[in-house]
């Protein structure tokens, strides 16, 4: 592909020859390209709805920044924005390193049968829906029958209603997210670990490095590029603090601390049929995501020489 686009080889005949030569490879990638164009790039045109009032009959009416003004003037907007930023920051700071640690730990398991068992167990929560997970966590944290509070009581502690406590609910969101995604997210790091040349470890062992030193001085530095890429890509979803999770775990007592941009847009925008308003909020989120990805990429390039491209 690089050869094909190289300025030196822009001769149409060469391009055709190259296409003919590798036609099967281009054909293989064609459905993917088509998929992205159809389902990811083409719908971007619909973003113009953020600047219009939708009309089922006749043309949409251009209204400029009307929906953005409504969004930014809404009394709840800055509150939900603040919640989104806080919950996302907590999730990134706490949940992001866990899969790395988990992959390092799984990599240290010598018995392949036991490793497969551990992997299956930690991947499992990823396949559960948030409706089910919310049910599990509500039961687990119940003040009357929940295991957590029964343990607290066994140590003469006072039961805590974590689900309705403004102080604790964000932590419930973070830890339930961690429980669900840590295993699955560790796959990418495990794959990266298998790519590290074994000769590096052999050389370190000859020098007398123990397992800890090998992890710190070989595995982690070799994982740096993957970590940076995943981190930057994760930042792109910074404004998605987890609609399904929050929607299923929210209750009347904790609205002010867990109501995020997505749940707000769902209530005010989608449930009320205000699609242009919902599109404006999505566009706002998208712009923030792009800014975060680009700035982190640039900072990372300057500091570590690695980025996502």
């Amino acid at each position: 592909m690089q050869n094909l686009l190289s300025p030196k080889k822009r001769n149409p005949k060469r391009i055709i020859n190259k296409l003919k030569e590798d036609w099967i490879l281009y054909l293989l990638i064609a459905p993917c390209i088509l998929y992205f164009i159809l389902f990811h790039y083409f719908p971007l045109i619909g973003m113009k709805l953020a600047f219009e009032d939708y009309r089922i009959i006749g043309d949409n009416v251009f209204v400029g920044f009307k929906h953005f003004n409504t969004l930014f003037k809404s009394p709840a907007f800055f509150k939900v924005l603040k919640n989104t930023v806080i919950i996302s920051t907590m999730k990134i700071l706490i949940c992001f390193p866990i899969p790395i640690v988990l992959s390092l730990l799984i990599n240290e398991i010598r018995s392949s049968k036991y490793r497969k068992y551990v992997q299956s167990v930690v991947y499992l929560p990823h396949f559960l829906s948030w409706v089910v997970i919310a049910g599990i966590w509500i039961s687990l944290l119940s003040t009357s029958t929940g295991a957590v509070n029964q343990i607290i009581e066994a140590f003469n502690g006072t039961p805590v209603d974590y689900m309705t406590s403004k102080k604790h609910i964000r932590w419930v969101l973070v830890f339930s997210e961690m429980w669900r995604s840590a295993g699955w997210d560790s796959i990418i790091y495990l794959a990266a670990i298998t790519k590290i040349s074994y000769s590096l470890y052999e050389a370190a062992m000859v020098e007398g490095a123990n397992r800890w030193q090998q992890t710190i001085h070989i595995t982690l530095p070799e994982l740096r590029a993957t970590i940076v890429t995943v981190f930057i890509l994760n930042l792109g979803f910074f404004m998605n603090a987890g609609f399904d999770q929050v929607y299923n775990m929210m209750n009347d007592s904790v609205i002010s601390v867990v109501d995020i941009l997505d749940t707000y847009v769902y209530r005010v925008g989608l449930a009320n049929g205000q699609y242009a308003y919902a599109t404006a909020a999505s566009l706002f989120k998208g712009v923030i995501g792009i800014i975060l990805i680009s700035s982190t990429h640039m900072i990372s390039k300057k500091l570590t020489g690695k980025g996502i491209w």
Partner: protein
């Protein structure tokens, strides 16, 4: 071999992508009922010019072209309509799984507008764009529909003439195990005079007395996540007679920021503090609420009148024996008495006809048929030989009838031509419907204008959180005044002015 396999894989992937596009094109081509069949039909004819049935596109929750039962139902409906000289061929429009109101709105905004549309919310924005037909002139001409409409249906139709939904009044009523109710010392007094105090005494007894013999129930009552169900018993008694109530100066004030509300929240806090109200009510969902009732953890729950209470009764008897049938309790009596006031600003769900349909008259004839005796027979009872059998001049419901439910209307005045050997609903369910009628209170309310939607959301959330915190004791009842102040600052002042202009 590898190349052939790769080629096959690519062809499959390409076809699946093209397939997605093609389905969309087909959808788009049939948008707005622009099919060749409908083009041939004329407004007042019951069939096309070439004698073929007129195609009517219909979208409805729980009506899917991939469900053989639904397809059979539609075929039976077509046959029954044909007998009345209404020749139609229905095309069921399938909505993707998920939230029906949301998916339906996306379908309509994508300019795919079926002739007959069932809404379960989200209709106001569509009606505002002129997509829905005003049903008033059709109803004026229809004796069947006029007869089937109850006073609340008529009021709703006057206020919002786009949706029709012929069902008995639906509200929420409290239910308790009959054997426990009869064994209680305070039950009789509650039934004779259901004051707030008598309710309190009964709920307290439910919590304190060992009715089951194994320490149950643990709590007097539970609700699913919020206090709406609890309000169904107590709101009227505390003086919250509607969404908007009059203050001492005769001006309208939002019920949830009134002094009555403060008094009510203090009472709810008392129930919570004394362990009468389930301490985990905030995290209860409808299923865990029901489970707590059937396994006797709580003594009383509140459910929708009619079919839902019928289900509660069936499940309770299955779990605890025939003697555990349910007793429906009246609402508390105080400043007023009634269950939750019935909102008459509009139908919250119902059937609409597309204003763009070339077959509006015909679509209305279908609606009219569904409200007629013949239509009700099919819609309420299902298929003869499958859901019911006729023996000795009586209708006997089969086991399979449990799976059947009316997809459209439940006309209040409808009586089958033959007597039904087994009643359609259990005794408590019928009683709940009678009580819903007896304690009918009309709401004083209006639809929140578009300009207030965002601030209304903020105000609603403010109430939800303050009320939950006051009930659970995280905030004292004195902080209710701070809530009221914040509510007015969040847009309450403007909406109250608007309410006073509108309601007068």
């Amino acid at each position: 071999m590898k190349k052939i396999l790769a080629l096959l894989l690519i062809i499959t992937l390409m076809f699946s992508l093209i397939g997605c596009g093609k389905a969309k094109q087909e959808d788009a081509s049939s948008a707005s009922g622009n099919t060749s069949n409908t083009e041939n039909s004329s407004e007042n004819n019951n069939e096309t010019k070439d004698g073929e049935p007129v195609k009517l596109r219909i979208v409805m929750k729980d009506l899917s072209p991939s469900n053989p039962g639904d397809v059979k139902y539609i075929e039976e409906l077509e046959k029954a309509l044909a007998k009345k000289d209404i020749n139609v061929k229905f095309e069921i429009v399938e909505t993707p799984s998920g939230n029906y109101a949301e998916k339906l709105n996306l379908l309509l905004l994508g300019e795919d507008i079926p002739d007959i549309i069932y809404f379960q919310g989200g209709d106001k924005q569509i009606a505002e764009q002129g997509i829905l037909e005003d049903l008033t002139p059709y109803i004026e001409k229809s004796e069947i529909i006029q007869k089937a409409m109850l006073p609340h249906n008529k009021k709703r139709m006057e206020n919002y003439p786009y949706l029709i939904w012929l069902k008995p009044i639906k509200t929420k009523a409290p239910v308790v195990r009959s054997d426990w109710f009869e064994a209680s010392k305070t039950g009789k007094a509650l039934l004779d005079n259901p004051t707030i105090d008598n309710y309190y005494k009964f709920l307290k007894e439910l919590k304190e007395k060992d009715f089951s013999g194994d320490g149950m129930p643990k709590y007097g009552l539970t609700v699913s996540g919020n206090i709406i169900e609890l309000d169904s018993i107590f709101n009227q008694a505390f003086g919250i007679t509607g969404a908007w109530v009059k203050d001492s100066e005769g001006k309208y004030v939002y019920g949830k920021v009134s002094e009555f509300e403060k008094e009510k929240l203090a009472f709810y806090h008392k129930l919570y503090k004394e362990g009468i109200l389930d301490p985990e009510y905030l995290t209860k969902k409808w299923d865990t609420k029901e489970k707590a009732f059937y396994d006797n953890t709580v003594g009383l729950i509140i459910g929708s009148t009619g079919k839902v209470i019928d289900i509660y009764d069936g499940k309770m008897k299955k779990a605890n024996g025939q003697e555990a049938s349910l007793t429906v309790l009246p609402p508390a009596k105080g400043k007023g008495q009634g269950y939750l006031p019935i909102d008459v600003t509009k139908e919250s769900r119902g059937i609409a006809i597309s204003a763009l349909s070339p077959n509006k008259e015909l679509a209305f004839k279908v609606i009219e048929f569904l409200a007629s005796d013949e239509g009700q027979m099919l819609d309420r009872l299902g298929f003869e030989g499958e859901h019911y059998e006729v023996k000795d001049g009586k209708i006997h419901l089969t086991e399979k009838s449990q799976e059947w439910f009316a997809k459209f209307f439940e006309v209040h005045s409808w009586e089958p031509t033959k007597k039904i050997a087994t009643p359609l609903l259990s005794e408590p369910a019928v009683d709940s419907m009678k009580k819903a009628e007896k304690y009918y209170v009309e709401d004083t309310n209006f639809m929140i204008p578009e300009g207030f939607v965002a601030s209304w959301d903020a105000m609603t959330n403010l109430y939800k959180e303050y009320s939950a915190d006051i009930i659970t004791g995280k905030k004292s009842i004195e902080e209710f005044d701070t809530f009221v102040k914040q509510w007015y600052e969040a847009g309450g002042k403007e909406i109250t002015e608007f309410a006073n202009k509108l309601l007068k």
